[in-house]
Amino acid sequence: MNPIPATDASVDIRAHVCPMTWVRVKLALERLAAGQVLEVLLQGDEPLRNIPRSAAGDGHEILSSEAAGSDHRLRIRKGGAPC
C-alpha cells in the first residue's frame, strides 16, 4: 500500500450543510495545483456520501477516507481537469 502523501491544504466543513459542503471543498480544490492534496474534515453521513462522489465527478481522486473521532477525514488529490 502506498503511503498517504502529505496534505497541501485543509478545509473544515463540519459547520456546513449541503450544498455548501461541496461549495467549500470545490473552492479549496480550485486554490491547489493539479496533483496537490486537500484534507477535508467533515461530520455526518450526507457529506461522507456526497463529497467523494462530487470530487470524483470533477476528476479528482479520493486517496483516503477515515474516521477521526466523531468526525471523518478525507484526502483528495486534485485532478488535472479544470474546476
Partner: protein
C-alpha cells in the same frame, strides 16, 4: 478571494463546472454597460446585478413610463430617469455591484445593447417576440423582427434574461458564440429572413 458572504450569495454559480469560484471572481471584476433600459434592458440589468457583475454602467435618461413600470420601476418611479431608478435599486440588492449612471448621449438609446470588454449583445422585444444577436447586428433588422408593439412581460423577460446570460458567457469565455440574429415567438425559435438593409 471570495468572502464568506459572497460564497453564500454565489453558491449556485460556484457549483457550476463552467463557473466555479474562479469564474465568479471574474464576474465580480467585470464591467458591463447597458444602453437602453426599457422592459428588456431592465431585466438584463437585474440579472447581471444579481449575478454579481462588479460594475454596471447604465444609460437611459428617458422617464419611466407607467405602462412599462415593471417589477423595478414601481409607481413612485414613474416620470423619473430609468437609469437613476435602476442604479438606486441595484445598490440596495447587491453590495458587490456598483451601478452608476452614464452621461446621456445626444439621442436617447433606441435599442438595448450590452457592452463588455469581450464583446456585446443587442436585444429587443415586441409583442410576443424576442430577438437577440451580437452588438454589431443590423439594428434595422433587429427592430423589424420584433415590431413596434409593446412587449409582453414574458417576451421582455425572455429577451432580457437571454441577453444577461449571453453577456455572462462573454465575460467567462464559455459557451458557443452564435453568429447573426436569432428570433423567438412565445419562446419558440423562428427563422430569420436575410438582411435587406444594405
Amino acid at each position: 478571494m471570495l468572502t464568506d458572504s459572497q460564497i453564500d450569495r454565489y453558491a449556485r454559480h460556484i457549483l457550476l463546472r463552467e463557473v466555479g469560484g474562479i469564474g465568479q471572481e471574474r464576474i465580480l471584476a467585470a464591467e458591463v454597460r447597458i444602453d437602453g433600459l426599457g422592459p428588456v434592458g431592465e431585466w438584463a440589468a437585474i440579472y447581471l446585478a444579481l449575478a454579481g457583475v462588479g460594475r454596471l454602467v447604465l444609460r437611459d435618461p428617458q422617464p419611466v413610463h407607467p405602462q412599462l413600470a415593471g417589477p423595478v420601476f414601481g409607481n413612485a418611479a414613474v416620470g423619473r430617469r430609468r437609469d437613476e431608478v435602476l442604479a438606486e435599486a441595484i445598490g440596495l440588492w447587491n453590495p458587490d455591484t456598483n451601478a452608476t449612471v452614464a452621461e446621456p448621449a445626444d439621442a436617447p438609446p433606441t435599442a438595448t445593447v450590452l457592452h463588455a470588454a469581450a464583446g456585446g449583445i443587442a436585444v429587443a422585444a415586441g409583442g410576443k417576440r424576442a430577438a437577440i444577436g451580437p452588438a454589431a447586428s443590423c439594428a434595422a433588422c433587429l427592430a423589424s423582427l420584433v415590431g413596434t408593439d409593446t412587449p409582453d412581460p414574458a417576451a421582455a423577460a425572455l429577451a432580457g434574461s437571454m441577453a444577461a446570460g449571453e453577456t455572462l458567457q462573454l465575460l467567462l469565455g464559455i459557451g458557443s458564440r452564435p453568429q447573426g440574429l436569432r428570433l423567438f415567438e412565445r419562446g419558440r425559435p423562428l427563422p430569420v429572413p436575410p438582411c435587406v438593409h444594405g
